[in-house]
Amino acid sequence: MDLSYGQEYEDFRNEVRAFLDANWPPKESATDGKSLGDIANEFREKAVDHGYLLRNIPKKYGGCEQSPDSMKAAVITEEFRKVHAPQSFGGIGPMMLVPTLLERGEEWQKEKFVAKSVRGEYQWCQGYSEPGSGSDLASLKTRADLVGDEWVINGQKIWTTTAREADFMFCLCRTEPDAPKHGGISYLLIPMDQPGIEVRPLKQMTGGADFNEVFLTDAKTPKDWIVGKRGEGWLVSRTTLKHERNGIGGAGRNDVMLAGLVSLATNAVRNGKPAIEDAEVRRQLVFIEGYMKSHEYSSFYQLTRDVNGKEPGRLGLMNKIVGTNISHHVARFALDLLGDGGLLDPSADDRSLGRVPGEARQWVTQYMYSLGIAVAGGTANIQRNVVGERGLGLPRDTFANADRSAKQ
């Protein structure tokens, strides 16, 4: 066991620091008249040239194609974070579609989509769920028929995050109506800006509207905008789902959440004193930290196994639910610390009330959002099925497996 980075990586860290010293924040003369977004993007391009961002993306698709080295990646993230330098774009395209394309896409698809998607120039949304098909995703009904050189798509998707902003959707459609449920699905890429697609925002319990309904009425996409073969969409979607779950269940945000709780407890008052001085509050912070650190160190372990080409065992099936359980703990404790702040509508405007209620509203939003992430990407119960059946080897559910359908 060795948690140190060692000389090689400390040298590398110095290189990264020197790069950041020279380039971030940029000199004022170099930023004259440019938008913040342009400034950040210029910096990102330099970082890609130096081999610091888009490391796992091949050069021909706009990355810098470094050999996988999670230690270097960790050093880069640490150093960039320290000086608040822009990192690679996150979101649905870079995190879910790009890895799927790299693993399963055609050459021309990678050339066309990867470079622009990882730069945020192409925005994506994920068209999986339907009104009648959530956990039982493979029962989906949205249909795509090949007419000449085009797929013609009819049906409805729901809970589609960022559909309004997206240029494209990666979408599961039924293309082989006579095949068994799982074998009849294809993975299509669809341009969003066309008459056959109508997007309607869905208002969330938080008052915001990140997700949408998407109605597809004779929507069209070219014949070869399919990832994998006809009828292989289910398989392809498993690739994406794995990336989604690891994204949701990552331990990366734990430190931020804990620091947030500490700050909330410092400002909140209990028995006439700052809540952070209250013994119960202090214990609760440590209680949550126990879960967070377990999660974080388990991610070190999984990384090590991965680097050495070994399986992580049961742990590998647990990341999403371990992460969401932590979010639940954080949310509950935050609501408790908020006290009267828990009476506030999270989406309301605070101009008349000043700054403090604004913070409270953000926590109320997080309180509710912890439930959104427990559902998105496969519900907690579905995760429990996965752990119980594949992790512990308990008998498979007879209902859900009559046709192998649960979103596992």
């Binding site: 060795d2 140190s4 980075y5 126990g290 650190k293 999660h295 119980g388 512990l392």
Partner: protein, 358 residues
């Protein structure tokens, strides 16, 4: 970065597990658990021959000179097998000698402890739930007079490392005058606890200070965390096995999603915490600035999880789970020991809060 066990560590763990699988079948464990001493000399001899007794004793004193992580992964394997006997007390006594003993004391005791010719233990606890070195009240000097409580396997020991006021440590030979040892009838009958009363008992001060005693305590916390992880994992395993064999309504009960989800929750609760005790054990030898805090975090978190899993495990077994006959109680009680020994989770959470920068 490399956060995984080495091949040697995996082999070590496997060898201990194998020894226990051979020498400690469930029926035999139960005999020991129900017996008078909670000890099986032949089993201890087998472990000693494997090198367990001197695992972390420095080479110059006849030990294998390994690290706390190596010892902790053994503790996990022993906990998994439900091993009775002096391992815990003995290991902590060895660590105390190494960290706080004088050269002469090390020379005189460590070689014998490493070969298992002598057995050690440590006496930290005092009435009123006082465990921490800074809280000890027993007055040191050339002789001791007073009582230590919850001393693990004192009746099996030749040497006691005793904590005294100010956070010092002293050595007392079991054969010294004025000692009486009484079985406290602890809940975990595989690791007995005794009260030890001293009356003008000759003792020998160790040069180590409060800081050394605190480090000995931290090592003990990590061994408890490893054992608690093992107890919880064993219980999950027992529940899963039971769910695959017990039938109700014409099917094995593992078919019922309510139970399946309970078992999944138990596994989800405990599995990630293995990394927590690994980290604490690694930090003990390699990241001194994090060592004290991470030892306390591992002990408080894992022993808490293990106890909850113990409760769930009884429930998952139905009526049989509540019986003396069912083996669930053996690991349930290990979890009780690991949770209470050296102080409850809340006690350590308070300490951790105090060590934090908030």
């Amino acid at each position: 970065m490399n956060f995984d066990l080495s091949e040697e560590q995996e082999l070590l763990q496997e060898t201990v597990k194998q020894l226990l699988a051979n020498e400690l079948p469930a029926t035999h464990l139960r005999e020991i658990f129900e017996g008078d001493t909670g000890h099986d000399p032949a089993l201890w001899k087998g472990l000693v021959e494997m090198g367990i007794a001197g695992l972390i004793v420095p080479e110059e004193y006849g030990g294998a000179d390994l690290e706390l992580l190596d010892l902790a992964v053994c503790a996990e394997a022993l906990g998994w097998g439900g091993a009775p006997g002096p391992f815990f007390g003995h290991s902590v006594a060895c660590i105390a000698l190494e960290l706080a003993g004088s050269e002469a004391q090390k020379k005189s005791w460590l070689p014998r402890l490493a070969t298992g010719d002598a057995v050690g233990t440590f006496a930290f606890g005092e009435a009123g739930g006082l465990w921490n070195p800074s809280e000890w009240t027993l007055v040191g000097g050339d002789t001791l007079t007073g009582v230590k409580l919850n001393v693990p396997t004192a009746s099996l020991a030749d040497l006691l490392v005793v904590g005294v006021a100010g956070g010092g440590l002293v050595l007392v030979e079991r054969s010294a005058s004025g000692i009486s040892v009484e079985d406290m009838q602890g809940v975990d009958r595989s690791r007995r606890i005794d009260s030890v009363t001293f009356e003008n008992t000759p003792c020998e001060a160790m040069p180590g200070d409060l800081a050394a005693a605190n480090r000995v305590r931290d090592a003990a916390l990590i061994l408890l965390a490893a054992d608690a992880f093992a107890a919880a994992s064993k219980l999950v395993d027992m529940c899963v096995e039971y769910a695959k064999t017990r039938e109700q309504f014409g099917v094995t009960i593992g078919h019922f999603q309510g139970l399946k989800h309970q078992l999944a929750n138990m596994a989800i609760d405990i599995e990630p915490s293995r990394a927590l005790y690994w980290y604490a054990a690694h930090a003990f030898d390699h990241i001194p600035e994090e060592s004290e805090r991470s030892a306390a975090l591992a002990k408080s978190h894992i022993s808490d999880r293990a106890m909850e899993i113990g409760r769930d495990s009884v429930e998952a077994h139905g009526g049989i789970g509540f019986t003396w006959e069912c083996d669930v109680q053996l690991w349930f009680k290990r979890a009780m020991f690991d949770r209470a020994f050296l102080g409850t989770p809340s006690l350590h959470r308070d300490r951790i809060a105090q060590m934090s920068d908030w």
